[in-house]
């Protein structure tokens, strides 16, 4: 999945139901994390929905590798968008990337609001912090 494709799909879907349908389809394409990896140490403390996140650096390519999963369909779809946006970036590029602009342009900025409690904001913050460390 690349982010251009996702942006196009989402901009073509009108109304919230259509948008969420698209988001949930994106989530379905994201591989399911094996239960052995759904451990508390990988949980991004969000709130109502559970999110597991693994982030590493492919040393040879100097690119970020992200694996994530959620127990909710919508958050999983939002994770697919985040992964598409960050995957393949160098830590340098990732730390300069503005996820807020992306979500704004997708009409999904409300999902980054602190009140949503879905952890998306926390995920983006965690990726940024880890990208800084890996730089």
């Amino acid at each position: 999945m690349n982010i251009e494709h996702i942006t196009k799909k989402l901009s073509e879907s009108h109304g919230w139901q259509a948008k969420y349908r698209e988001i949930m389809l994106l989530g379905k394409q994201l591989p399911t994390l094996p239960d052995a990896l759904k451990v508390d140490s990988a949980i991004v403390s969000g709130c109502d929905s559970k999110v597991w996140l693994y982030l590493d650096l492919d040393e040879s390519a100097q690119q970020l590798v992200l694996i994530a999963d959620s127990d909710t369909r919508i958050v999983k779809g939002l994770l697919a968008i985040i992964i598409a946006a960050y995957a393949g970036k160098t830590p340098e590029q990732a730390s300069q990337f503005n996820a807020y602009e992306l979500f704004e342009s997708l009409g999904l900025i409300a999902h980054l609001s602190p009140s949503r409690g879905n952890g998306i904001r926390a995920i983006v913050e965690q990726i940024q912090v880890q990208a800084e460390i890996l730089k």
Binding site: M24, R73, I74
Partner: protein, 403 residues
Amino acid sequence: MTDIQSLRNDFPILNKQLDGQPLCYLDSAATAQKPNKVIDVIKTFYQDENSNVHRGLHTLSENATVRYESARETIANFLNVETREIVWTSGATESLNLVAHGLSASLNSDSVIAISPFEHHANIVPWQEACQRTGATLLVLPMLDGVLDEQGAIAMLKQHKPDVLAMGHVSNALGNIHPIESLISVCKALGTITVIDGAQSLLHLRPDLKALECDFYVFSAHKALGPTGVGGLYGKYQQLNALPVYKTGGEMIKEVSFERSSYREAPSKFEPGTPNISGVIGFAAAIDYVNEIDPSALQRYEQALYHSLLAKLRQIEGITVYGDTQNNVGVVSFNYKNEHHYDLATLLNTYGVAVRSGHHCTQPLMKMLKVNGTVRASLAFYNNQDDIEHFINALSATIELLD
């Protein structure tokens, strides 16, 4: 007789459109909507009457003090108790903290505090803290299939003779009305102090506390058509006045020197500082409003709505409803197949439906029900059959989107 249906017009927010959809508000257990009467009283207070209480000879201050104190009388009459038995607080949470803090002064490592498995975190954590401070033990009453096991609970109370029983009148997560009358009478015989969390019962059940004979009862204005940030504590006067002070400051004192201070009698000794004056006055307006509605007509109306909602919901295959559907104030707490309550509530919101999803601040209860949360639709008398149609249609469309 009051025409309950027409009361909906008193709630301006219910005419709101969200994203072009009419609002379907089914989250009254989180907070109730406010009638014009309450909104107007608060606006008028700040516009024409604002002044501090108990500390001025000028006309505005005197008027504000009279209004503030007569609000105490309004809620006392509503609950059928003495005016001096009502303490204003910031809400049920603060009231529970005040009682738990106060009662822990007379608890020790031999003491037992009983709670029910349905309690809101606000009626668990202050008691856990009290146990930690005093070494007392926390005892949890039994439940069966999402309903309090009354006989089991009575047996447990008789066996352990707890010092305190703290429990909700109505479960916020499930809407269950608990048999507190029988538990209180058992507690009276045992000498157990009863603390009833009335956050969810004040509006729907209008309890007569004199008849109920509990020792303490806590409530929040915002769940009963009043403003947020204000609520109260009722305590039988001797017991209330015997509690040590919880917060200290101005207004609550008789005399202060640098060596020591002496406190006034209850309720003043629990109300230091400038109180939430507009909140208290707004709350009294809410109670005045409720007083004009015939309680049995209101309950009949809410029950009819609830049973209609329940019947329609049960026609949908894959729905699981939790809790006591025989004795309920009008809350349906449910899940659909293995779908996450977060997805359901997010999609329902796209149809203008406001419900709560999650653990409803009752994590231990959710664990006992073996779920990580539910979707909760909670009714009030200002809802109508259209809301139920709206909700069921939105839920059917949501399920279609998920299946």
